[in-house]
Subunit: 149 residues, 2 copies
């Protein structure tokens, strides 16, 4: 049976968000939040545009999803994000009690796994979904930026 | 010599912010960000009012300070916050490269110390400034809330 709404389907949406960040000269990370088969929030990194270290893709998606739901807890929601969340974003996801986090590429240095950020007991996490697409986009960004300087 | 601009002076400003949160029915936590002798940003917890788990006092103060400075790094800045920062806020402070964090009361369960959130190497942290005032306000809030239910 065809399953159109699988992890790859939603991670592609998150990658589209990452591409929007790339076009704005932002480190290309994108996120969507999904409930059932429906995307209820989108976000991409805007730290340079907004001049704000807190403007990560996930933070904006969390705020936007809560706004959509009319409640601050993201129960039965899944976050798709192209890069493993950092301490700040994982800390925000802890408070949100989100049901599931699906990330693309690992972030060995600044990601929540190696830094052991505590997730909410209700939250499951899965990684490596379309990781190659996410990390290729990041590599392309840093190569282009280096060539500009 | 009289030192009017000491840690207690600025923590009192943060406590005033916490009282504003209290009056709005929010868990009373307040913060200010200071550069030299000048308060450049204020914030208090607004998670209920804004229906947003990311709306902690510190997060709003970080965004506001960057806006004031016209740059996202909070170099030479000190954050005064009435309660030890959580993982999310400490993670945001990591990205901000803030010079110093001064907190009031400890948060043994959800604070960044016991949860071992990584701070930026440039960041110093000091605790226990006017801790009694901060924790009394929190206790009063939870007692009143319990009596309402």
């Amino acid at each position: 049976m065809i399953q159109p709404f699988d992890d790859n389907y939603f991670m592609k949406k998150a990658l589209q968000e990452a591409e929007l960040a790339f076009e704005k000269g932002e480190i290309p990370v994108g996120a969507v939040i999904v409930i059932g088969d429906k995307v209820i929030a989108r976000g991409h990194n805007l730290t340079e545009t907004l001049n704000d270290v807190t403007a990560h893709a996930e933070m904006q998606a969390i705020t936007s999803a809560a706004n959509f739901l009319g409640g601050k807890y993201l129960l039965n929601c899944t976050l798709y994000v192209t890069l493993e969340p950092c301490q700040m974003c994982a800390g925000a996801l802890y408070w949100s009690q989100i049901s599931k986090i699906v990330y693309g590429a690992r972030d060995e240095e600044r990601g929540c796994i190696n830094l052991k950020t505590k997730l909410h007991p209700k939250t499951k996490m899965k990684g490596g979904v379309m990781a190659e697409g996410a990390s290729q986009l990041l590599k392309r960004f840093f190569i282009e930026r280096r060539n500009l300087n």
